[in-house]
């Protein structure tokens, strides 16, 4: 392997991840005078916002009504305006006692010992396994979104989507917009997982949502050619004789996401298990500071939610990091923090937000417990 020169970066704050959380954190911190670099493994900044062609919910503060792709490009433009140093094509491969190491463009090592680190590495999709799941044609919902909305490739002609949460419902809609045909959405539970308005859009297009169903197998020679689904009971046990064949060449798995927290682990952050937030979460306080004083977290890595909460958490992390560097006056700090926290409360309200709210409260409690015992 060819080695290249080591590049050094000399910013106050290093943000890992240029998705909504990372961009918002960088913008906030730079507003208070911190020098900020963002490092991202992708060729383009924006994280998942690059794939979100639909309009966002929330209120005006959350840019409700604006398409995700446009919220993304606005954040990037603002970051660039604020002279945030955007380093792309550069995955961070480790944090070694405060030393952050990344590989730039497959060739050059980049290492830096920033005063503060903000981890905004997001989440990655889960998968379920079934006979035939490794065949070409079985993909994650995120892969479908990436290839359709970013690379402009139709991933399949007749598609079965597994999972009726918001991701499954939205991806099904986006696949139809791209000219594919969604044959059905398959949902193991007895009810639709995502919001009614997303489901209604799908149903009025004639796409059935098969509740209490899951995939039996994907069959085909070198590509998916046919899908079999079967009905399940309340305990997800297969009902004999309930198999149905669906003609499809593609299966999209929309079965949840898990935080990408390897870097937090390497940096010795303490974790807690919160199923409602997607799994193992680095414990943090209300200003998004982890159990390691100089490391903050924001966005899906701190609990799988959505882009609007990622932005608010990013703001808090950027604010917290800047404040800890004595760059923010106490009054301003309190005011801005309160605004972001109220916004997060609003986004986590209602029956759909309840679980996430409970989850986040648990994380904050764990953080308090952690410091009580020290």
């Amino acid at each position: 392997m060819r080695h290249g020169r080591t590049r050094s970066v000399d910013s106050d704050i290093l943000v890992v991840g240029a998705g909504p959380a990372g961009l918002a954190a960088a913008i906030e911190a730079s507003e208070h005078g911190a020098t900020v670099s963002i490092v991202d493994e992708n060729a383009r900044p924006g994280g998942q916002l690059l794939k979100q062609t639909h309009r966002f919910f929330g209120s005006e503060r959350h840019q409700a009504g604006t398409r995700g792709i446009d919220i993304g490009s606005r954040l990037v433009a603002t970051a660039r305006d604020r002279n945030v140093d955007l380093i792309l094509d550069t995955p961070v491969i480790g944090i070694f006692n405060g030393l952050v190491v990344a590989v730039n463009d497959n060739r050059h090592f980049l290492s830096t010992r920033p005063r503060r680190i903000i981890l905004a590495t997001g989440a990655a999709e889960n998968a379920i396994s079934f006979p035939g799941w490794s065949l070409p044609g079985v993909i994650t919902a995120g892969a479908a979104q990436t290839f359709v909305n970013v690379h402009r490739i139709r991933v399949g002609e007749n598609i079965v989507v597994v999972g009726s949460g918001n991701v499954g419902l939205i991806v099904a809609y986006q696949l139809m917009q791209a000219g594919s045909n969604v044959v059905a959405i398959v949902e193991a539970m007895g009810q639709v997982g995502g919001w009614g308005v997303h489901a209604a859009k799908i149903r009025r297009m004639g796409i059935p949502i098969l509740t209490r169903h899951t995939i039996t197998e994907a069959a085909g020679d070198t590509h998916v050619e046919q899908i079999t689904v079967h009905e399940v009971d309340d305990r997800l046990n297969r009902l004999p004789g309930s198999e149905k064949a669906l003609e499809a060449d593609t299966v999209c798995l929309a079965v949840g996401m898990s935080p990408r927290s390897h870097l937090a682990e390497m940096a010795d952050c303490a974790f807690t298990d919160v199923p409602e937030l997607g799994g193992t979460i680095p414990i943090h306080n209300a200003i998004m500071q982890t159990s390691i004083r100089s490391i903050y977290c924001a966005g899906d890595v701190s609990g799988v939610e959505e882009a609007s909460t990622a932005i608010e958490e990013g703001r808090l992390a950027g604010l917290g990091a800047a404040f800890s560097l004595d760059l923010v006056e106490s009054d301003l700090y309190e005011r801005r923090a309160a605004i972001c926290m109220k916004a997060l409360d609003d986004l986590r309200s209602g029956p759909f937000g309840q679980q996430r709210k409970t989850g986040k409260d648990a994380v904050l409690r764990e953080y308090d417990e952690y410091y009580k015992n020290r």
Binding site: G65, A200, D346
Partner: protein
């Protein structure tokens, strides 16, 4: 694969389709009386999700959500004139504008985000909330204004009685003679 499964009566949580009861109880639903008087918005949004661009954008303050943004939108039918601005503002695409005052036909204006757009004069298959084709419809207008950020508004002419049923359409390849 169009289906009218019996579980559609089970409502939005179980099937993704609002039941008759849920529609009747929906705060975004205009009254029978108001429907007879002219174009009016129909907001089929009944769950508590944090969202309020419909309220924020209505030029006549005809939609009320309030300080707690998870409240389902309440249509103030006396103020609404059916201008249709809200159709493209709703992130859930849950709003249509209907005009049931025609002698033989109803008009339904709905959001449409697919290409190619239909053409004026086309005959399309009009679909109900379960995706079932219920009648033919003629495309009256197709508006894809820049201020609506790529959500086109298609107005369909449907037979009387279908104005509160039709919520989508499929191309048929036919045109009005």
């Amino acid at each position: 694969m169009n289906t009218t499964r019996t579980d559609d009566c089970q409502g939005i949580r179980k099937s993704g389709v609002l039941s008759k009861e849920e529609l009747e109880n929906c705060k975004g639903m205009p009254s029978e009386e108001r429907l007879k008087r002219g174009p009016i918005a129909v907001i089929e949004c009944s769950e508590e999700i944090p969202c309020n661009p419909c309220e924020a954008n209505c030029p006549r303050d005809a939609i009320d959500i309030g300080g707690v943004i998870t409240a389902p939108p309440h249509l103030l039918e006396q103020k609404c004139v059916g201008c249709g601005l809200c159709i493209s503002r709703c992130p859930g695409l849950a709003i249509t504008v209907v005009d049931l005052t025609g002698e033989r036909s109803d008009k339904v204006s709905l959001p449409y985000e697919f290409c190619p757009l239909p053409e004026v004069g086309e005959i399309v298959h009009a679909m109900n909330r379960t995706g079932k084709i219920v009648c033919d419809a003629e495309v009256l207008t197709v508006k894809n204004e820049e201020r609506n950020d790529r959500t086109a508004i298609v107005t369909l002419l449907v037979p009387n009685g279908y104005g509160m049923e039709v919520r989508f359409f499929a191309r048929s390849g036919r045109r009005r003679n």
